[in-house]
């Protein structure tokens, strides 16, 4: 902490978010984050930290500060309106007789 109480600036290298694609063509999943000075370095660190036991076939690394995230304040306006609109789910609709599943 600094004297004014604000958190100390991160003295480490920039942060990167790591997305690993599991074998079998499934979509990339967020695995965690690593510190690295550039993209190649981030890829190598991601490989060493998150993909050394055969977890993946492909890795994406993205600078953490390039990600725009919704905030807790957005919770209501973003997600609540869906709650009373069950017709947005396919299960809402009855399948007409005669349609083969």
């Amino acid at each position: 902490m600094k004297k004014d109480g604000s958190p100390k600036a991160d003295s480490q290298w920039p942060l990167w978010e790591v997305f690993v694609q599991p074998p079998g063509g499934a979509p990339h999943e967020h695995a965690g984050s690593v510190h690295a000075v550039d993209a190649e370095h981030a890829l190598q660190n991601a490989r060493d930290v998150y993909a050394r036991r055969g977890e993946g076939v492909n890795i994406w690394v993205v600078p953490t500060n390039a990600i725009t995230s919704s905030t807790p304040d957005d919770m209501g306006p973003f997600f609540d309106p869906g709650n009373d609109k069950p017709y947005r789910h396919p299960q809402f609709y009855k399948v007409p007789r005669g349609v083969k599943m």
Partner: protein, 250 residues
Amino acid sequence: MALDTFEYLIRLGDDRLVLGHRLSEWCGHAPILEEDIALANIALDLIGQANLLFTLAGDAEGAGRDADALAYLRDSLDFRNVLLVELPNGDFAVTIARQFFFSVFAMLQAEALMKSADKDLAGVAEKMHKESRYHVRHSGEWMLKLGDGTEESHTRLQDAVNELWRYTGELFVSDDVERRLVQQKVAVDSSAIEARWREQVNEVLGRAGIQPPEVKWMQRGGRAGQHTEHLSHMLAEMQILQRQHPGASW
């Protein structure tokens, strides 16, 4: 023939075991968590390779020694690794330069060994080649970052290269054991690797802004069991458990 093969496999295995152990000394001390894991990964790769090579060596010798016996129950006089890999870790630049010099050599060597007439060795070489390609990529990137980084990192890397250069010549020394196995298409002629090694290493040194030192006289001795004092100290630590509690396992 079997003894030549044993000797050759021990050389390959000792290079990797000793360097792997040296790298493991960084565990918990590397400059940043990610690098700590990266160095430990490379250490484990090398020790895993040594394990396979020692198993083949034990079979070739036919005296009932397994990989553990070869790793933990030999004295420094019986080790056949090049001096380069037994040198202390020094600072991070020394560790990286040593790793880069060895990894480029190991990659070229493994690439050629994949065509060995000894099918078991050829199989291990395929694994070694894959792993060493990553080791070259990892240490090569660091060579560029340190060489082209701050004044301090540049100076440290140049110092490291100056210090280690005289130990690189031994990588390319061929002898009768090797030549006999080369004739049988089992081994790789180490001296034939030198030109490509120089080309690849100089290319990276150039991009890193590091001057290749002009060293006329190269250190050697490891392949004949004449080691620096550092190896005995390292082995004392590495072998103490098996020496004090023979056969201990968990």
